[in-house]
């Protein structure tokens, strides 16, 4: 029992996590590629044309996963940040820092793909309805988080200050998610939810879920790569980093 616990905590140290992450990254990339290809295949070649929207609906294969990821990554980021703040784990602060750019990217994608879909379907690029506005605030929150962290020199302080900002910003996530229910928005309600069966044809849903999985795997792979870089940078004066880099140098 206690043995198991210790094993888990072992991976909470950058030194132990670094090689583990290195071994996992190729797998996540591979999975991302597999799911991505499968998702795009199902989405563009198998899934039927939508009765109302024609071919234009196919943007959902990117838009919906990107929107999900933008919110989900924020939650994960805030979770890691809060964990780092509460228990002073070095690793969790690094994870939060590593996740932020990917989250910002997905938020940006979600906004743009939404605009590209909105123009032909709704008849406008952008409306100031609750869903769109709160998603835009999410993008600002990501940018603020990244800017704050990069403005503070001491990485420990940067982690903690970023964590507070991330936790404060969490209030925005339920607002985004429930905005379509709380207000009369132009944006439609969600097609997939836990409480009711999806109002979508099966193949369309399959394509969307595959694409979502691909985004997920991509996000993990990229975040792990980034966290490895952050580890090397922050711990560059420690023995293990020197050994790691020294070994690499010898191999070449």
């Amino acid at each position: 029992m206690s043995n198991k616990l210790i094993n888990w905590f072992r991976f909470a140290s950058p030194q132990a996590f670094y090689p583990l992450a290195g071994r996992m990254i190729p797998w996540f990339w591979a999975l991302a590629a597999v799911f991505g290809i499968a998702g795009l295949y199902v989405g563009f070649l198998v899934a039927p044309t939508d009765a109302q929207q024609g071919e234009g609906y196919r943007i959902i294969f990117l838009h919906v996963p990107a929107s999900w990821m933008s919110m989900f990554i924020y939650l994960v980021m805030a979770f890691w940040a809060g964990l780092g703040l509460a228990f002073n784990f070095r690793l969790s602060g690094m994870m939060a820092t590593a996740l932020a750019p990917t989250g910002a990217l997905f938020t940006f994608l979600s906004l743009w793909t939404g605009a590209l879909w909105g123009k032909p379907m709704w008849g406008t690029w952008w409306v100031w309805d609750a869903r769109l506005t709160s998603e835009l605030i999410l993008l600002f929150l990501y940018v603020g988080f990244i800017a704050l962290q990069s403005a503070i020199d001491d990485p420990r302080r940067a982690d903690k200050a970023g964590a507070i900002l991330a936790l404060v910003g969490v209030v925005n996530i339920p607002i985004i998610y429930f905005s379509v229910k709380w207000w009369n928005t132009l944006h439609q309600g969600s097609s997939v939810s836990l409480t009711k069966s999806p109002s979508m044809a099966m193949t369309m849903l399959l394509g969307m879920l595959l694409c979502a999985l691909a985004c997920w795997m991509y996000a993990i792979a990229v975040a792990l790569m980034r966290v490895r870089t952050i580890m090397l940078e922050r711990e560059r004066h420690t023995e293990w980093v020197r050994e790691e880099l020294g070994m690499k140098a010898k191999e070449q």
Partner: protein, 159 residues
Amino acid sequence: MKTRHKRIALIIGGLAVLGLVVALVLNAFQSNLVFFFSPTQVAAGEAPKGKSFRIGGLVKEGTIKREADGVTLRFVMTDTEQDMIVAYKGILPDLFKEGKGAVAQGKLGEDGVFVATEVLAKHDENYMPPEATKALGDAQQRAAANKAAVEATSKTVKQ
């Protein structure tokens, strides 16, 4: 005061404030914070007068007509309880169809006709291939549309 007592006092105070916040938010949601108004709300005089606002509802079947000038479109927006005539000059979005949801921005004219400057299509969350929709049959389709309309209305009215 002891540290522990102080903490308890702060927590109680925090909960009280939280309760107040929730009460205020719920109070606000009972009134009219909406992206668009339904024809019923407009008929009840809840919409702003003499100023641009949005109305939302379903486009009534068989009411889209082009006027004599060849540019202006007229159609009826409904929430199944109240109807409203909308006049619009301009390009319609792809999704704008009879029996489907739409949001129009414009002003209410003296004659009760809503003169729209912009028409947006409101899409529902259903994604279905055409064959499946056809297979449902006409009657069923209309029933579903009606149900959606009622849902849309009850949602609007609730807010």
